[in-house]
Structures are given as structure tokens and as C-alpha cells.
């Protein structure tokens, strides 16, 4: 991808970053933060952060989960108030008390944890965020225009609760673009887009920047930051630990700045695939939800000792397929899903687990784990067959041991087995869930978005764990929207689009371009 725009040596950006005083009004930063500090009861989220964003600059904010990026962005957007520090908007000190204040100034935000009302439709959600004059009868049409222009297809009349994660993010992006903002904050915007759509989004962002709009770009995808951003501010544990021009850095040097050490690289040996362990044949399933995706005649074989990946833009039937394989939705035809030779279509999730299946779901809180319960109880949730129960009664000691063992083996940062699942960061909870499932030594493991929203260090660890499972002879099926991840760990790859699954292709016989084309079909 071309690096664009390449600033000439005399551009304002270059002069300012060279340290010239910003007294000339034209060169004023659009936004300047000084000493921003935010303390939560249990953690210092931001500790004296300084940051300046110039007009037309695409400015990356880099950092692991929990480094304080999201808190900082919420302060800029008026969602939370800083305890100390000042904000200057185009040279004047401002106090942004609410998101409405931020929007009036011209700040738009695309959240990572989507700020949408579940029961309202897309158009209603967007209307709520717009200044009163801008919403109106033509809004639905404008949503269609903008979403089509940026390759973010969206039906304005659908209620939010029927949308997948990826589709919800589209709503956020479109909502933001409709407000003609002068500073856009994007929090992990590309994690659910096809490569083509990412390229399109980058074109849009570059055009916006060229028109003078400033962009704060939060991402953990280092390649993207290097391709897109003019400047990067690196956060670690709430403090600024570095500033750089990402175009002059390598991905590994950026990663080192971010996590303070080198990234582990997964070792990927050639697969030694054995007998078919998970076979889906002719699976057709009407969607349980009027806006869901029906599955049409899906066939798929995963053999012992291989990882098969399913790529696709979210909302194309991934959730339905995983629920059908995990047994959360059963099938009328027992032969639709076969696990280790046993027809399992009519078996429920517990019975399929008893056959040797384990599942890492996309939603961690509320599905993969019970938010209010301790990690020990959450270990018991699916691992009770591991000798944690005797005569119907819970063996409290064994449960604790299993939870502590999982915490230790997978490097989960948690107070202990009694910590509530909801108190963990997304990445740490995901490590716990992955660990809990893997320590049951499943012979078939299915994982949905295993590294979604997880920091690079944890993501690398989870990918390595999936490879280790494979090498130990398990059949692994991974659904992911991150093509880089699938190409890194998979032996075979298929694409799901509108409820139909393509043939599984060996990895060396396909390319990112081909997969991307299949995805956008």
C-alpha cells in the first residue's frame, strides 16, 4: 500500500514535529491535551498524558489493552471527565462535559464497545446522535448513501440487537461520518472489515485528512498504523512512553515500544492431519431470528491435527454456524454434524462436550463466562467433567485448583480464583476462557473470534495455544474476521458469505486477495 500523503519537508506537520513554537495560528494543533489524568477506584487509567493532533493529521494511539487508550478517548469525547489536566481545541481551552459538547465542537467518535441502543433501529440510533436539525425524513436515504459510498452496507430499519458485532461497528462509523466532523476518533475500526473494505476505509480517511480533518486512530494492527498514520503516541500503563513516526518504524519496533518486550512468534510446523474429527454435511438451518442469516447446505470437514479457518465479514452466518456446531442450536438431522464418528445433530451442547468438543465463543461476558461469578465458578461452568464434581456435589478444592491452574498456565492477570469474571480486562478473560476450554484436552476445538479486541501479546499467546492444540492432535476450527490471523495459523481456509460456505482450500493454494474476493461476494 502506498504511503500517503508524504509530507514535504516544509509542511506545517513537519515543522511542528521539529519542535517549532506553535504561535502561528495556522499551525495550531486542532486538539492539545496537557497533563490529562484520570483515576478510577482501582486503577490510574491516565497519568499526565500530553498529546497534540494537527489539522489533517492521522495520529495513531498505540497501546495494549488496559493501557488507557479508551479512557483517554472517552475524556476527549466528553463521556468521562478528567480529574486533572486541560484540553485545548484550536488554541482555546475547553471543558467538554458531554458527548453533545464534543459533537458541537466537531469531534466524532467510533467506539470500540458500541454505544448503541439495542432495541432501537439503525436510523433511530443515528437520529439520536445528530443535532436536531440534521435528523429528518431523509435520514434513512442518507445513511444508505454514506454506507454505500464507504462500502459499509447497512439496512437503516433493522433493530440493533439483531446486528452482529461487525454490523454494529458499521453503524458507528456511518453515524460518525454523517456529522461532518473535524476530528474523528476511531477505536479499532478495521477489525471487522474485509481487506478491500479496509483499503476503501483508508482511502476515505486519507481523503478526510487531506480535506483538513484530523483523525485519532486507535489500533493494535501495526501494519495498518504504519501504512496509514503520520504520527504515533504510544501508551503503556496510563503513561505516554514514546512518540514516533510509524512510517519510519518496523512492526516489531512498534510492538516493542508498546509492550516493552519482543513479541513471541508462533512456530508453525507442517500439519500432520489424521482422520476426520468434525464433519458438517449438508447443514441447512433457518435462522432463529428474523434478521439473522440462514445457513444453506454447509459442508465442512476438519481432520485431527489440522486447523481450518473460516473467513468472512461478520453477520454472514458465522454465529449461526458456530451455534449449530456447538449444540446451542440442535438440528433435526442427526447426521448434519458428526463429532468423532458420532452423529451429533440432535445432541445438545452438554452432550457434544461429552463427546470431546470444546468451544470458545465470540462473546466473553454473558456467554463464555458469567460476569458476576468468580473465575472458580466460571471454571466449573464447562469443566465440571474434569473431576470437579462428585456425586452431584461440587468439589470446591478441585474447582479452585482448576481455576488457579488455568490462571497460571495461561498467564491470566487476575487477583485469584475468587475474582469476578467481569473485573477482568477483555484480553485476560479471553485467555482464561481459552485456557479453561483447552485444559479439558478436547479432541475438537471450535473458536469464534479468539483474539477479537485482545492485545497483541495475548493474541500471540492464544494463537500459539491453538497451534499447540493442533500439534497435540486436536481438530481445530477457527472463525475469524482477521485474515492475517487466519493466514498465520490455519492449514486450510474457507469463506462464509450469506450463509454459504466455500470449499476449504489448503493455505498454500490461496491468497489474501482470493479470500477477500470471496468474502465480498
Amino acid at each position: 500500500m502506498p504511503l500517503h500523503p508524504t509530507p514535504d519537508p516544509d509542511s506545517p506537520t513537519r515543522m511542528l514535529s521539529a519542535g517549532l513554537p506553535d504561535t502561528v495560528s495556522n499551525f495550531l494543533p486542532r486538539l492539545r491535551l496537557s497533563g490529562i489524568t484520570k483515576v478510577y477506584p482501582s486503577v490510574v487509567a491516565n497519568d499526565g498524558i500530553d498529546l497534540a493532533v494537527l489539522p489533517g493529521e492521522i495520529h495513531a494511539v498505540l497501546g495494549e489493552n488496559g493501557a488507557g487508550k479508551s479512557t483517554l478517548m472517552k475524556i476527549i469525547y466528553g463521556v468521562v471527565q478528567a480529574d486533572a489536566g486541560t484540553m485545548q481545541w484550536e488554541g482555546r481551552e475547553v471543558d467538554i462535559a458531554t458527548p453533545a459538547d464534543a459533537r458541537r465542537l466537531g469531534i466524532g467518535m467510533v467506539f470500540q464497545n458500541f454505544a448503541l441502543f439495542e432495541t432501537l433501529t439503525v436510523v433511530e440510533n443515528i437520529a439520536l446522535a445528530l443535532e436536531s436539525g440534521r435528523a429528518g425524513p431523509g435520514l434513512a436515504a442518507r445513511i444508505r448513501d454514506v454506507s454505500a459510498k464507504y462500502g459499509l452496507p447497512l439496512d437503516p430499519r433493522r433493530p440493533i440487537h439483531t446486528l452482529s458485532v461487525g454490523e454494529r461497528q458499521r453503524v458507528e462509523i456511518v453515524r460518525c461520518l454523517l456529522q461532518d466532523p473535524r476530528l474523528i476518533i476511531l477505536d479499532e475500526p478495521t477489525s471487522v472489515l474485509t481487506p478491500q473494505a479496509v483499503a476503501k476505509l483508508f482511502e476515505t480517511l486519507r481523503r478526510l485528512a487531506a480535506e483538513g480533518c484530523s483523525i485519532l486512530y486507535i489500533s493494535h494492527k501495526l501494519d495498518e498504523i504504519r501504512a496509514l498514520c503520520h504520527k504515533a503516541t504510544v501508551l503503556r500503563a496510563g503513561r505516554v512512553t514514546g512518540e514516533c513516526d510509524p512510517r519510519k518504524e518496523s512492526s516489531s519496533s512498534l510492538a516493542r515500544m508498546m509492550i516493552g518486550s519482543d513479541l513471541p512468534h508462533p512456530r508453525h510446523r507442517e500439519a500432520r492431519a489424521g482422520k476426520p474429527a468434525l464433519v458438517v454435511s449438508g447443514l441447512t438451518l433457518a435462522s432463529g431470528d428474523p434478521f439473522g442469516t440462514a445457513l444453506a447446505n454447509i459442508s465442512l470437514t476438519v481432520r485431527a491435527g489440522e486447523i481450518v479457518g473460516i473467513a468472512g465479514v461478520s453477520g454472514n452466518g458465522q454465529n449461526e454456524l458456530m451455534a449449530a456446531i456447538s449444540g446451542e442450536r440442535t438440528q433435526a438431522d442427526a447426521a448434519a454434524v458428526t463429532i468423532l464418528g458420532t452423529p451429533a445433530g440432535r445432541l445438545d451442547a452438554a452432550q457434544r462436550r461429552a463427546l470431546g468438543l470444546a468451544f470458545v465463543p465470540e462473546e466473553r461476558l454473558g456467554r463464555g463466562a458469567v460476569p458476576e461469578m468468580s473465575l472458580a465458578d466460571n471454571a466449573l461452568l464447562t469443566a465440571h467433567r474434569e473431576g470437579l464434581v462428585g456425586h452431584g456435589f461440587i468439589r470446591v478444592g478441585a474447582v479452585r485448583e482448576y481455576a488457579v491452574g488455568t490462571i497460571d498456565a495461561f498467564g491470566v492477570k487476575a487477583g485469584g480464583a475468587d475474582t469476578a469474571a467481569q473485573a477482568l480486562s477483555g484480553g485476560n478473560l479471553q485467555k482464561f476462557i481459552v485456557g479453561r476450554e483447552m485444559r479439558q484436552r478436547p479432541r475438537v476445538l471450535i473458536a469464534s473470534q479468539p483474539t477479537w479486541g485482545v492485545d497483541v501479546g495475548a493474541a500471540a499467546q492464544i494463537r500459539q495455544a491453538l497451534l499447540d492444540m493442533r500439534d497435540a492432535g486436536a481438530a481445530v476450527l477457527v472463525v475469524s474476521e482477521e485474515l492475517d490471523e487466519l493466514f498465520e495459523i490455519c492449514d486450510g481456509l474457507a469463506v462464509i458469505a450469506q450463509g454459504r460456505l466455500s470449499e476449504v482450500k489448503p493455505l498454500r493454494e490461496t491468497s489474501i486477495e482470493e479470500i477477500g474476493t470471496l468474502m465480498s461476494r
Binding site: 477506584p41 466528553g78 471543558d95 464534543a102 465542537l105 457434544r352 460476569p371 458476576e372 456435589f393 461440587i394
Partner: protein, 359 residues
């Protein structure tokens, strides 16, 4: 400015403090109420809360009335923890009384020590039978158990009424709608002399302990709690939603049925058109005031029992209307739900923030 702020973790202290706060607020309302009615509030409080338990007999009555409340509430709590909303305990109690009372009438002349156990088994079966209908309707047709269990209360009380007016009416009872008095072997032995307190209390306490063991230490109890807290997680882990509904309803029905036997084999000693002053409904409040926790339920049942006794005492001594009891119960539940906010939120005093300055 006052601001409600979400707590990072639910407060355990507030969880236990909230019922006390609710009780205090209820007393304040009582104070205002008594004053408005022209009574000296201190005299009224004495009549309401002290006088009923100032005698040995009074303490016996307190424990006697607390027994069915704690028994039913602990059974309901098991269901409520799993989001199974059994509102029909009053009907299940009545059906338990019919089944247990039927056995007592059948074995009228028996002196066997097995009469009481047989009545209890029959009562439990009756309560479960009556709870099985809402469970079946919910699992088969997805009908709300809140509505079906509540409606079945009226069917149960009318069934009892039909029996005592008809087939089971005492032929020597001067045409009063009541059954024969039960035989000696069908009555629960008295626990405390000179009171009506019987061995239903230790039985209820044992059930409370068993319920704690079930909810906290058994896999099935754990899975019910998961189903209540996070239905998607329960589905993910393969916890059958149907089994959760069946278990939740049947446990509630069994406990209510047993409480029904406790009433007819205890203070009543026969079948009457009405065998409960609304214990089945009051137990819903007891379950929530007790935080759905067995120990909390024991204390809450004592409080609710005191409200019953106090209401009677206030009627007799102060000529207060009987509605006072219901009013106190309602006020208590109202304040409890209001105080529960503080478990997940805390109050903070914040400055009025300046509005953003902008062009």
C-alpha cells in the same frame, strides 16, 4: 449535585444493609401513618412490634407463623435464582394441604406413627403436582409461568372450597364448610409447651439447610444460578433450559406443599375453606427481603411474621384497620427494591460542571 454512579463491583455490604435500610424506612412511614391516624406512634409501635412477642405464647406464635414463610420462601428462592418466577405458591400450598389433609381424613382412625410422614409425602406431591402445570406450559408452549402459576392459585382454593363444602364436609359439623378434625396421629407434636409451636419449625430449618447445600454445593444448583445470571452462558455450557424450569417450579411447589401440610396438621387440625392467610404471597416478599439467601430468608420470615402478629395486635388494642398489615408488607417491599439500587450504584456529590465553551 447528587449523582448515582455505577460501582466497579457490586457492594456486599450494601447487599446486607439494604434490607435494614428498608426496614428503617418502613418504620418512618409507620410513624407518619400512625400520627396521621391520630394515634400516639410510640404506643402504636409498642402494640405492633413489642406486645406481640412479650409473652411465651407470643414468641411461639411468631415462630409458628415464620415457619411456613421460611419454608415457602426458600423454595421460591431456588426458582427465582434461576429466573423461574413462581408466583403461585399459595395455590401449591393449598394443593399440598388438600393432598396431606386427604391422607389424614383417609387414615382418620389410624394411630400409626407413619400417618404424619405419609401426609408430608402426599403434601409435597400435591405441591409439585400443582407446580408441574406451569412448568409444563412454560416448557411446552412457552407460556409465562408468572401468569399460569398465579391463575392456578384460584383454581386450587376453589377446589379446596368445593371439597369442604361437599364431599369432605364433616357430617356432624352443623353444616359448616369444614372437614372432620384430624386424628391425634395426624397432628404435629407441640415443640414448646403452652404454645401452638410444633415440630414443623425444625423441619423447615432442616429444609433451609438442605436448600443452602443444594444451591451452593450441588452442580444442579450451580447450573440453576448460571441460568438465572446469564441465560446465554447456560445455553453455551449445555445447561438445559427445560430442566431449569422444571427444577425451579418443582422445588418451589414441594416446599409450598409441605408448608400446607404444616398448617392443616398444625394450628388448624382440619381442612377449612381457607388454610392460609396469604403465606404463599407473603413468602415472595420474604424471599426478596432475605436476598434469596437461606439465612437471610430465616430472618426475613421472622420479620414478616412479626408484621402479621403486629397487625392483629394493632387491630385488637388500637382498633386499627386490618389493612395495616398489608400496607406494612407493601411498604417494606417497596423500600427494599428502592434500597437495592445501592448494591450496584453509589451516591456521589459532584460539582455542577461548567458547560463547554465553544463558538
Amino acid at each position: 449535585m447528587l449523582k448515582l454512579e455505577a460501582r466497579p463491583e457490586p457492594s456486599r455490604i450494601a447487599g446486607w444493609l439494604s434490607p435494614l435500610l428498608a426496614a428503617a424506612a418502613t418504620l418512618v412511614v409507620g410513624f407518619i401513618l400512625f400520627t396521621a391516624l391520630g394515634k400516639d406512634p410510640w404506643v402504636a409501635f409498642h402494640a405492633f412490634f413489642v406486645k406481640p412477642v412479650s409473652t411465651r405464647y407470643g414468641v411461639g406464635e411468631l415462630l409458628l407463623k415464620a415457619t411456613p414463610l421460611m419454608l415457602i420462601a426458600v423454595g421460591l428462592a431456588a426458582g427465582y435464582r434461576a429466573n423461574v418466577w413462581n408466583i403461585g405458591a399459595e395455590g401449591q400450598l393449598t394443593m399440598g394441604a388438600i393432598f396431606g389433609g386427604g391422607v389424614a381424613l383417609l387414615l382418620q382412625d389410624s394411630t400409626s406413627a407413619l400417618v404424619l410422614p405419609a401426609m408430608m409425602v402426599a403434601g409435597v406431591a400435591g405441591g409439585m403436582f400443582w407446580a408441574a402445570f406451569p412448568a409444563w406450559l412454560r416448557t411446552r408452549w412457552n407460556a409465562s409461568e408468572i401468569l399460569t402459576s398465579l391463575m392456578l392459585v384460584y383454581v386450587a382454593t376453589l377446589t379446596l372450597s368445593l371439597l369442604v363444602h361437599g364431599a369432605w364436609r364433616d357430617p356432624e359439623g352443623f353444616n359448616f364448610p369444614q372437614s372432620k378434625m384430624f386424628g391425634e396421629a395426624a397432628l404435629l407434636p407441640i415443640l414448646l409447651a403452652e404454645t401452638r409451636l410444633n415440630i414443623a419449625l425444625p423441619i423447615a430449618l432442616a429444609v433451609v439447610a438442605l436448600a443452602w447445600l443444594f444451591m451452593r454445593r450441588s452442580l444442579a444448583g450451580f447450573q440453576m444460578r448460571v441460568a438465572g445470571l446469564a441465560p446465554a452462558a447456560a445455553n453455551y455450557a449445555g445447561i438445559s433450559a427445560h430442566r431449569t424450569v422444571w427444577l425451579g417450579m418443582l422445588i418451589g411447589g414441594a416446599c409450598a406443599g409441605l408448608a400446607g401440610v404444616g398448617e392443616v396438621a398444625g394450628p388448624i387440625g382440619q381442612l377449612l375453606p381457607s388454610v392460609s392467610p396469604g403465606y404463599g404471597f407473603a413468602a415472595i416478599i420474604v424471599a426478596f427481603v432475605g436476598r434469596l439467601h437461606p439465612l437471610g430468608i430465616v430472618f426475613a420470615s421472622l420479620l414478616m411474621s412479626l408484621l402479621y402478629l403486629g397487625g392483629e395486635s394493632a387491630q385488637i388494642n388500637l382498633a386499627m384497620p386490618s389493612a395495616v398489615t398489608g400496607l406494612f408488607q407493601g411498604t417494606l417491599l417497596f423500600f427494599l427494591l428502592a434500597a437495592d439500587v445501592f448494591i450496584n450504584y453509589r451516591l456521589r456529590f459532584v460539582r455542577w460542571s461548567r458547560r463547554a465553551a465553544h463558538a
